[in-house]
């Protein structure tokens, strides 16, 4: 039996815990950005994704992604490792296979949770849970197979990783472009919040947003450096680049705001952090620190400008999933074609380091394929859910706030007056908040 390397395993266990912690971090990041009357619903979308996607992952998701390919590099065999069958004592690459299962589980969870930012304030929690299960199954699991499943000695993996040969170290395509494209499809199908474009929908708690961004950054070290699957020089490189690119992206976003609006904001800092993290995700193991800073700079500037576009195009990507994750993911994926350097990744050079156009073409192909597949299939899923059980809450419930109407809770009750202002709740029996009102 192959030996377990305790050092590498130690790091991957921790990395898994770190990536796991990102989804609650996302819940805070997103939760702080919505209004006080919808923060719970927002956070619950992330927690719900943890619940549903983890369970499906353990049952058949891991198998769909890392099972032997069933044809064309499109999908792994869902029954091969059903319920983690046969993996208890398995070891691969010096790691207990189960920790790899857990590591990859956290990726599936957060990718699905990311989409919720586009659907703030207006969807039913139950419909969201259904969406999570369906989307993970028919969008994420296939795409993750394409990108993350490498050919083995006698197994076949996904087409992007092996046939196309695109570089995506930690998931610029499978995670960020995928979630961003799905978010775009979902908002186009579901439509904007009431008042979109007229009211600013300001964040109700910016320290919460910043805390969320910080937890994301913290956890992202597990995401990027953990993707080395070893405590080695590659992990160290990914770590350094995850600091460098993100620091620059934050500063770049702040600078854009300063120039355009006359002042920098904390929301800009938090958004810049996420933009930088997204862009360095695919590229952290193929560029040097200067390359990382350039990626951070481009991501910070482009995403800062991109998040304004939704007002022009009139789609209510409420918390900027498209502007940050899709745009940032594309930036990172495509810039590899320019900035990859054989200094850090064997035999590979981007355009700026004397490589040819081929790598760039490959990277663009991977990005485009992900966008098209994710966009189309997500649009169909959302449409079907909406036409059957209904995805959005009623107009009146949206105005009252989906926390009270859908969860029968309200996030805050700060005053001594048991119910004061919009901060506190009327927890009514049953899920219709008007029940008691109609009996009048």
């Amino acid at each position: 039996m192959p030996e377990i390397d305790a050092g590498n395993t130690a790091w991957v266990i921790v990395a898994t815990a770190l990536v796991f912690f990102m989804t609650p971090g996302l819940a805070l990041f997103y939760g702080g950005m919505v209004r006080a009357k919808t923060v719970l619903n927002m956070m619950m979308m992330s927690f719900g994704a943890i619940g549903i996607v983890s369970v499906l992952w353990m049952l058949y998701g891991y198998s769909m992604v890392f099972g032997n390919d069933v044809g064309g590099g499109l999908l792994g065999n869902p029954t091969e490792f059903f319920a983690l069958n046969g993996l208890v004592d398995d070891v691969s690459g010096g790691l207990p296979t189960l920790i790899f299962v857990a590591f990859q589980c956290t990726f599936a969870v957060i990718t699905t949770a990311l989409i919720s930012g586009a659907l703030a304030d207006r969807v039913k929690f139950g419909a969201w849970l259904l969406f999570c299960g369906v989307w993970a199954t028919i969008v994420y699991f296939p795409v993750a197979h394409w990108v993350f499943a490498f050919d083995g000695e006698d197994t076949v993996g996904g087409w992007i990783a092996n046939r196309l040969g695109a570089i995506d170290f930690a998931g610029g395509t499978a995670v960020h472009i995928n979630a961003g494209a799905a978010a775009l499809a979902a908002v186009i199908v579901l439509g904007p919040r009431i008042g979109f474009g007229k009211t600013p929908f300001r964040p109700h708690n910016l320290p919460m947003v910043m805390t969320g961004a910080a937890i994301l950054w913290f956890g992202w070290f597990g995401f990027n450096a953990g993707s080395a699957l070893a405590a080695d020089g590659l992990a160290a490189l990914a770590f350094v680049n995850t600091i460098a690119a993100t620091a620059v992206a934050m500063l770049a976003w702040l600078l854009v705001e300063r120039i355009r609006d006359g002042h920098s904001t904390s929301l800009g800092a938090a958004s810049g952090i996420v933009a930088g993290l997204v862009a360095i995700t695919p590229s952290c193991a193929s560029v040097n620190v200067i390359g990382a800073m350039i990626i951070g700079l481009v991501a910070g500037v482009l995403c800062a400008l991109a998040v304004g576009l939704k007002y022009k195009f009139k789609y209510d990507d409420s918390l900027d999933v498209v502007g940050v994750h899709m745009v940032g993911g594309i930036v990172g994926t495509v810039l590899i074609g320019f900035l990859a350097t054989s200094e850090v990744i064997e035999d590979t050079n981007g355009l700026f380091y004397g490589g040819g156009w081929e790598l760039l073409g490959i990277q663009i192909t991977a990005a485009v394929a992900t966008i098209v597949f994710s966009f189309v299939v997500t649009a169909i899923i959302v449409l079907v859910i909406d036409k059957t059980i209904g995805f959005r809450v009623s107009e009146e419930d949206e105005l009252k706030g989906v926390d009270i109407t859908d969860l029968a809770e309200s996030a805050y009750e700060y005053t001594d007056i048991p119910v004061g202002g919009a901060k506190s709740a009327i927890h009514v029996k049953g899920n219709q908040s008007d029940k008691e009102e109609v009996k009048a």
């Binding site: 009252k400 007056i417 004061g420 202002g421 927890h427 009514v428 029996k429 009102e437």
Partner: protein, 112 residues
């Protein structure tokens, strides 16, 4: 001069503001409140146990108006805040002896 005070449902504030604006009222003061009246005694479930909770979130709007606008403003509020369900709130008028604008010290109608 009169002070019109309205206690309304929070999600109706935007409508009331717009209606007052349309009527020609260009100043008001808003604050948080809660209350009950007939909309008394919801049953709330918390951890499987039932409770009666009486206070419901409201918003209070105060508008200083000329005596002869008072009635119409009350009407404007009623129309714009109405959902027809209980808990829509109250609006009332109280007499005001004097008003001043802090910035200039002007008094009376000029201060509005």
């Amino acid at each position: 001069m009169k002070l019109i005070t309205a206690v309304i449902k929070p999600f109706k504030l935007e409508d009331v503001k717009n209606a007052l604006e349309a009527f020609g009222i260009h100043g008001l003061t808003v604050s948080e409140a809660s209350g009950y009246g007939r909309q008394h005694g919801h049953t709330e479930v918390y951890r499987g146990a039932e409770y009666t909770v009486d206070l419901v979130p409201k918003v209070r709007v105060e508008i200083l108006v000329d005596d002869n606008d008072a009635d119409s403003v009350i009407d404007v509020v009623i129309k714009s805040a109405q959902t027809g369900k209980i808990g829509d709130g109250k609006v009332w008028a109280t007499p005001v002896d004097a008003v001043a604008r802090v910035r200039t010290g002007e008094r009376g109608t000029d201060a509005l």
